[in-house]
Symmetry: C2
Subunit: 338 residues, 2 copies
Amino acid sequence: MIVGNVTIRDVAARAGVSVATVSRVFNRKGPIRAATYTRVLAIAERMRYVPHAAARSLSTRSTSTVGVVLPELHGEFFSEVIRGIDVSARKRGLHLIVSGSHSDEAEMKAVLRAVRGRVDGLIVMSPDLDASTLLVDLPAGVPVVLLNATAGGRSSITIDNAGGARAVVRHLVALGHSRIAFICGPDNNCDAAERLRGYRSALRAAGPLVDEPLEFPGKFTEESGYEAAQGIVGTKPRPTAVFAANDAMAIGALSAFNSAGLRVPEDMALVGFDDIPIARFLSPSLTTVNVPIADLGRRGLALLLDPNQAREDARRSTLKTNLIVRQSSGRELRGGHR
Amino acid sequence: MIVGNVTIRDVAARAGVSVATVSRVFNRKGPIRAATYTRVLAIAERMRYVPHAAARSLSTRSTSTVGVVLPELHGEFFSEVIRGIDVSARKRGLHLIVSGSHSDEAEMKAVLRAVRGRVDGLIVMSPDLDASTLLVDLPAGVPVVLLNATAGGRSSITIDNAGGARAVVRHLVALGHSRIAFICGPDNNCDAAERLRGYRSALRAAGPLVDEPLEFPGKFTEESGYEAAQGIVGTKPRPTAVFAANDAMAIGALSAFNSAGLRVPEDMALVGFDDIPIARFLSPSLTTVNVPIADLGRRGLALLLDPNQAREDARRSTLKTNLIVRQSSGRELRGGHR
DNA sequence: CTCCGCGCTGTAAACGGTTACATTCGGCAT
DNA sequence: ATGCCGAATGTAACCGTTTACAGCGCGGAG
């Protein structure tokens, strides 16, 4: 027989007090005699009383949970974002409800609508889909913070994608490379677009000695990086350096270069973007752009909870990225035909 | 001005029906005239009515969310587990509340207690901490499924760790290796313990031509794999093969071997465990044991929701693992001193 | 001695849904 | 005409909290 769950009334009855008193004890609100306090607490403990979250939410109009909506859940990147949010959520006693794998827009909208009474706020990362149309029919009054996306009036945190990309190109150019290929991210992905923009502008800024942009399609997955790299291997004249728009594709490319018998970095320099945790453990270790991924999550949560959200200036912030030079970009090219 | 949220009563009033009718429309329950149905739905849509999740939960005694408790959230492995749960949760219209980073037991217990009225069930992965003591003061009546752990009477899904480990050792022995080192997982971690057990028993079974177990401590992290591998490099006589208890440590070891100038697999064969998605993209690609990670999550959820949970035989299941031979274990040793 | 104020506790009305039960209303058999 | 039945809908209790407000006892001021 399943023992029915103990309610606040049961505890009150057993302790010989009213439900209000028990509630006050649990919420440390209002004046309570010390003796009453400890007695109620002891009895509640003995009866294994645990407050019913839904009932409390209904009454207080506040769940203590925030929702996290990501394009997908797979891979080191998203895992880090979630972790960043999770650790700071726990510090504040908040719960996290996550949801990913939103291939299509309708599905995502359905999720967004189901939040009333479930979360106090939402952290949304939607680099692919246009955020402003998505959020249009979000229940009113739900605070939202966007990660790596912007939409009119919403708070957001973005990272300096273009700046990071420019740093990569400058690094490669400084090493003597002049034919630098780029493996793009998915179409419509705004991070990808910014990185591409940075790549192009830095190439242009590098002057006439450096070749035109040489771009290969990719989808931010290891597979797509692998395939793009195969295309690069067959390109004549072959580039001497490859800049992948994210680390996952760089990993795929590395694998393809190995299969093709090309050594990295001797025969081909390779740079990624994101600095996912395993980047430093690849062989060769991956030169990449560090983006403070966990920080992105952490600050997203902080912004969401910040009561000063109304202050316009604080609502948007951009996180700096910085180049991490490791082995895969190699040393200065010698005897180049420069 | 924030527009107050629309309640079911508002919709009922506007549509000229009772709240019961509106409720029935939304839940497709009870007989409703077609005309009423569409009219109410249209009005609700126009008013942007969304049912309040907490209120519904309170009334029906069922949230449609399940909780997922993991030891931590970082890395490809856990990310895959969550993804597996997430995709099948979405198919069933369920939400997911996750929580990780449970360094200590008290923290984890606190999380487990807070579930009343928040989730309908729990999927708990706790390879480090003893599950039975953890679950002792879980609110009564919350169904639980354990992943990679067992505790009296609880449903659980485990993977065949020992079998996978034995397959690895047999594979290496078949290739001609006789000095096979093992990088252990954390103490108290039951997956790690099982893998170690498999390693030892397979070595023993391999006969007298194969050396005694040679074990190095590790903690399932890339760093710890790196350090363990440094120790292995300095060991005399040096092993010819290394079996890391998980892929993350194998990645760390690979990095260390590269730094030390050892080629994998020519100078040192290397095998991991888990078959995380990037394993195939490492250079060399990693020989490892495939465990159906996403499946683990998927089946965990299925078991949790299975009304037949009472049937004793269905409550525990073990997932098969299987060896995936790639490049890192190399080809047969030639001219060994066998 | 009365009254006031304060500290502590109790009462009961929300919160926003669901649902058992009651009610209404045609239609149909008697 | 009467009664009955089932389909469609309404009424109101209930889910388990929080909290505004009321009440009560008691000590000190007047």
